[in-house]
Symmetry: none
Subunit: 134 residues, 4 copies
Amino acid sequence: MDNMIITLDFKSDTPIYVQLRNEIVIGIGSGELADGEKLPTVRQMAEDLGINAMTVNKAYAILKNEGFISIDRRHGATVAPIGNGQPEFKEKLENELRLVISEASVKGIGREEFMQMCAGIFSSVSFKSTSITE
Amino acid sequence: MDNMIITLDFKSDTPIYVQLRNEIVIGIGSGELADGEKLPTVRQMAEDLGINAMTVNKAYAILKNEGFISIDRRHGATVAPIGNGQPEFKEKLENELRLVISEASVKGIGREEFMQMCAGIFSSVSFKSTSITE
Amino acid sequence: MDNMIITLDFKSDTPIYVQLRNEIVIGIGSGELADGEKLPTVRQMAEDLGINAMTVNKAYAILKNEGFISIDRRHGATVAPIGNGQPEFKEKLENELRLVISEASVKGIGREEFMQMCAGIFSSVSFKSTSITE
Amino acid sequence: MDNMIITLDFKSDTPIYVQLRNEIVIGIGSGELADGEKLPTVRQMAEDLGINAMTVNKAYAILKNEGFISIDRRHGATVAPIGNGQPEFKEKLENELRLVISEASVKGIGREEFMQMCAGIFSSVSFKSTSITE
DNA sequence: GTGGTCTAGACCACT
DNA sequence: GTGGTCTAGACCACA
């Protein structure tokens, strides 16, 4: 965790707490943050990023709600184990993909190139569900 | 275009103009809206959907800015031809994909399943960059 | 809605936003707040109750997340239609009931008396699921 | 008591001492813990559950305050005899029930289904006030 | 020392 | 004019 880098764009339209949430999800997905690993405390993270503690709080609360992390009254926030593809999540994912694929197609990125990009991302890092830890 | 269906969810968190922008992008990507085809006027679209003209205006402006449509004072809004994968777009796309793939992985959807979902979407519709006109 | 009374206990241990959430749930369940009815704006509610707008905001956000209300960007918060007994909710409900029934039993309130109390509450107001509106 | 099982969820939102208090109340209500039976010492309980003694202490103090157990400096904590439905308790119970019933109604669980759930819970265990000793 | 709650007040995005 | 975001700073509950 120590070497995890979180980048925020304060000029972006996407709220800071969403950006933070996304960065942490990527961190978990890419294996930088392992199961059970401890996240920085709310205040620590806030100080490191130069933002308000409530903003971090909100990001953590969402991640908890989505099942990505669990917040333990004693040990703070820790990364939760991987879930199993719930149907409702798959539906949401498919909608996201349909949009992304549309954008790519219109911009001239065809099926093969798209697939290669995905493959590249999968290869670049050790994604959790590929290397079964539990 | 006449038979194109645009669905808006007024209860959704995503702003109406973003939803509209997304639906049009999907429409273009899936071939429902062909190159050079004319989009309804701002007022017409607003009336059809029961939303404010300003909202449609905003969606069109974004689409134009992103290069998906071109707006001509004489002919109104028309669908722009397919672009060629600009590097800046690819970078944006890769960031989007990295997040989506992370979410999927952590939720237990591995590489193979993910690839199959993509393939399924590509097969379901005839995307522009694969079959130019339809 | 105009005559709906919300009582908060500032000395209570239960957070204000939870109290507010509970009062609104009761309001909906008892039929005081009908389907589609509009709730006061965040600021209005905050002013009426003498609390901060963010506190009301949090209560509304939870109610939205639980499916009790829906927040429309145009018309503010409105009461959502009744759901259908999802299994996960039933499980939560059963746990709650098991505790409440235990407390009652130990305090000398037996099965019959307990059932009568429930019946009394059901009779006192027109609960939504008994009088099918939709 | 020896075979009584207490389950705590450290990831839950409800404080540990409340969870512990609830589990003991259910234990008493269901007859697993009989009148006059001795509860483990604070330290013993704390060690068994792997929690802090202060936390157990707090739970016991609340149970005593609510009249569920009595604490004797010589004999430790023992289960108190069944109370008789005090009016103040009934009022508290009725408030709890009103909320639970509201939630159920709005979620589509009507009067009959609710009553059946209650009956099911009453049948599943021998509650104290119905069969005094077990 | 941890997260959770609450406040007052400011600014922004959306319609 | 609506809800949403963000801040700084205070206080509390939990373990």
